[in-house]
Structures are given as structure tokens and as C-alpha cells.
Symmetry: C2
């Protein structure tokens, strides 16, 4: 798929933001203005609520990474934002909302049709984005993956050898099949867990962390709900990438 | 109890080490040579294997803290090192070794007589050390506590208001009574857990972390056994104290 830049703006003296399309998929690339040599790249994962909604948080992460000398990029998830509506995804979301409202347990019959099709569709798109981004002269390996839907991060860590380190956010429901894939992950991992995350099963997150085969993996658990990740936890993730991508 | 300096040496241009006795208790104080103003203090906890054995590791921690602008101090635990033998402690240790060799579960009948008398005796001694150290012109509050027997750290966090932040190492057996005390801890905590610690119960460590009432608490779990704490985990503990003691 061809990458075509659609917009360009300097966020300040330090970061250049370029909007792009990859085929029909919208995305952003942020590069540190100061970079003399090609810079390592961090793919910024995000929750399935659309790039427009996520934009301020993504820019904050991009600025932080640029200060550490990293380029960052992201693409829209299938069925989200300006991409075509995906009826099966909408149905699966409605089913999850119904179960949460009813106070029912969220089991595989809800999680699997919600998450697995997203993973199956998104992962090849992120790999295609990687092909296109690494072809740019200003971007270089190695590549990190950070945040977003943890099941996408797990699959990418298994199938994409150019990703050498991942900071994962244990903050979404994980299909059983992904636990099996986790046993094949061997790259260094930095796993963030919000101890009282309302949209997450703490024991499942601990089990998933245990399942990873990586020799270097760290679990950073902090107080608070899904959106309450403290600044020092973001700083620690930055240090993790500095250790592994430089 | 009176603090009397017994030795003094510069470890290099950066750290001054002074041996002392507090009554009959031996200890060390390390201060950054560069410090112009009174410096905050971190009490360095350590496992009950004697200060002589721990010395190289304590000096490494003291150098690290001095580079961050902190004074550090430690005292010998009762029944350890050059302090008088404590027969009840030796019996409790022999009982633990016997159970571990026999592959028996380590229950309260072994943990409580091993740990609770140490906590009951050591905590007033560490508080007396704090009285003496804070009376020195070069030492100032606030005070942090770091590492060592986690039950001592928990008790100190409950009873000693001058300790405003603690980095605890979930690497030793914890009596049930200490879980109850943990519910009274409200200071910021940074808890380190070695995921495959052979001398520690992982689930108990997670339960203890859950029990703390602190609004700011972070659990940092890393791969490896008891002695395998990675350097980046030590760095993260240093950053925790920089956030809370400065």
C-alpha cells in the first residue's frame, strides 16, 4: 500500500507532524525536528475510539518520544474514526455495552468476536504501515510498539520481527487465543497495569504477564482507573524504549 | 541512644562514609560530598545477613543515592553481624531452613516467630537512629525508607511519621499481622517484586500490594530470582525518591 502525505505542520520547533493515508487508512507521522540521522520509530497503538478523539493524547505521547529522539507513527483502526463502518464490530460493541450495563460477566462469547477480528485485520495494516514508514529516508529501525489494544501488541510482537521491544497497556479484554500467542513473545516487554481499571480483569492481566516468554519483562502497576496512568509511568515507558531502541 | 562516629573515609570525591555506633548498634552514614545544604535522608534496609556481608551492595546503593543528592544510613539488625547472638532468632531460622529443605509449605508457625520479633525489636532501633541522624546539621528531612525486610518497612511506614515515602522489596515472608498493618499505610510506595523469587510467595506479595491504603503506590515486577533485580529497577526506585523527597 502506498503512503501519501496529506498534511504537514510544525507543532513547535521540535516536532514535525505529517498526516498521511496508507491506501485508504489515515495516519500520522511525528518526527523530531532536531534529528540529524535517521531516527528509530515507535508505533503508537491506541484504543478503538477514533484518531480524532485520541489526537491530543497521541500528540502528547509523540512530543514525549520526540524529546527522547524517537519518531512515532499511528494509523486508524478498522471500523473506527473516518474509516468505513464495520457492522460486525458495531454489533460486538453493542453486546459488550449490554453485558456491562446488565452487570453480567464478560466472557469469551463477548470478547472473542469483539477483539479477534480487530486483531486479524489491524495487524497486517500496521505491518504495511511499517513497510512504508521504514522506506522513508528519515526513519530507521529498530522499531518499538507502544500502548493501544494489548491483543494487537501481542500479535505484532509474535509476527513482526522488526519490532524489537514493546510497551503494552494491560487495559482491555484479552481473548484466550491471545494468551496462547503470548507464550511465543520473546522480545523485551514493559507492561503497564492500572490496578483498579474498571474495563479490565486484574487477574487476567497478571496471568497474561506471566505467560510472556520474554526473558526481560517488567510489570508496572499503578493506582487508579483506566485513564489514570501517572506521568511517571509514561516516563518509565520512555526510558524502556531508550534502553532498547538506541 | 547516643550516636558516636567510629570511622571516616572518602569513598571517592563524591561520597563520605562514616561508621558509627548507636548505643551498641553498629551503622553507617553516607553523605554526598557535594551537598551544600542539609540533604534528605534515605534509610537503607537490608536482609538479616549482617552488615559485613551486605556492605558492597549497601555502598553501591549509597553511591547511587548520593549521585541523586541523598544521604543514606543503615544500622545492623538485632541478632545479626557483630551484634549479640539471639537464640530465638537462630531457632526460627533453623526451623525455616528445615521446612525449605523438606519442601514443606512455609506457614505462620514458621514465619511469625521468625519475622515478628525482628520487626518489634528493629523498628524502635531504626526510629532511634532517625532521632540521632536528624540531629546532625548535614542531615535534613524528609526521610525515605528503602528495601530490606518488607515487614520492617511496613511497620515503619505506619508508626514513623518522619518517613514520607518508601521503596519496599516484596522479597521475604510476611506475617498475617503485617497485612493488617499494611491497610494503615498511606504514604507513597514503590514496591519491587522479583517475579520468580525463590524465597517469596508471589500471590502474597500481590495481596500485600493490594492491601496498602496509599493513594500513590506502584508495583514494579521484573523477571528473575531474589538477587536478580535489574539495574533499571534500581534507577526507577531512585526516581521515586527524587519525586517524593525533593
Amino acid at each position: 500500500m502506498a503512503l501519501r502525505f496529506t498534511s504537514e505542520q510544525r507543532l513547535d520547533d521540535r516536532v514535525l507532524e505529517r498526516g498521511f493515508t496508507l491506501g485508504e487508512i489515515p495516519g500520522f507521522l511525528w518526527t523530531p525536528s532536531s534529528a540529524a540521522a535517521p531516527t528509530p520509530l515507535i508505533l503508537l497503538g491506541h484504543p478503538p475510539i477514533g484518531l480524532h478523539t485520541m489526537y491530543p493524547r497521541l500528540v502528547a505521547r509523540a512530543r514525549h518520544a520526540a524529546a527522547d529522539g524517537f519518531a512515532t507513527a499511528t494509523i486508524e483502526l478498522p471500523g473506527n474514526g473516518d474509516r468505513p463502518l464495520w457492522p460486525a464490530l458495531e454489533e460486538a460493541r453493542a453486546e459488550l455495552r449490554r453485558a456491562l450495563r446488565a452487570g453480567e460477566p464478560v466472557g469469551p462469547e463477548i470478547i472473542d468476536p469483539l477483539v479477534l477480528p480487530l486483531v486479524d485485520t489491524a495487524v497486517p495494516e500496521w505491518r504495511a504501515a511499517l513497510d512504508a514508514l521504514l522506506a522513508l529516508p528519515e526513519i530507521d529501525g529498530p522499531v518499538g510498539y507502544s500502548g493501544g489494544i494489548i491483543s494487537i501488541g501481542v500479535r505484532l510482537a509474535v509476527v513482526e520481527p522488526r519490532i524489537v521491544a514493546a510497551a503494552l497497556f494491560a487495559g482491555s479484554f484479552v481473548p484466550r487465543a491471545i494468551f496462547e500467542e503470548a507464550r511465543q513473545v520473546t522480545i523485551p516487554l514493559h507492561v503497564l497495569l492500572q490496578w483498579d481499571d474498571e474495563g479490565n480483569d486484574r487477574q487476567a492481566a497478571l496471568d497474561l504477564f506471566d505467560a510472556f516468554a520474554s526473558k526481560e519483562k517488567s510489570l508496572h502497576a499503578n493506582m487508579g482507573g483506566h485513564a489514570g496512568v501517572p506521568q511517571h509511568a509514561a516516563d518509565a515507558a520512555g526510558q524502556f524504549f531508550t534502553r532498547h531502541l538506541k
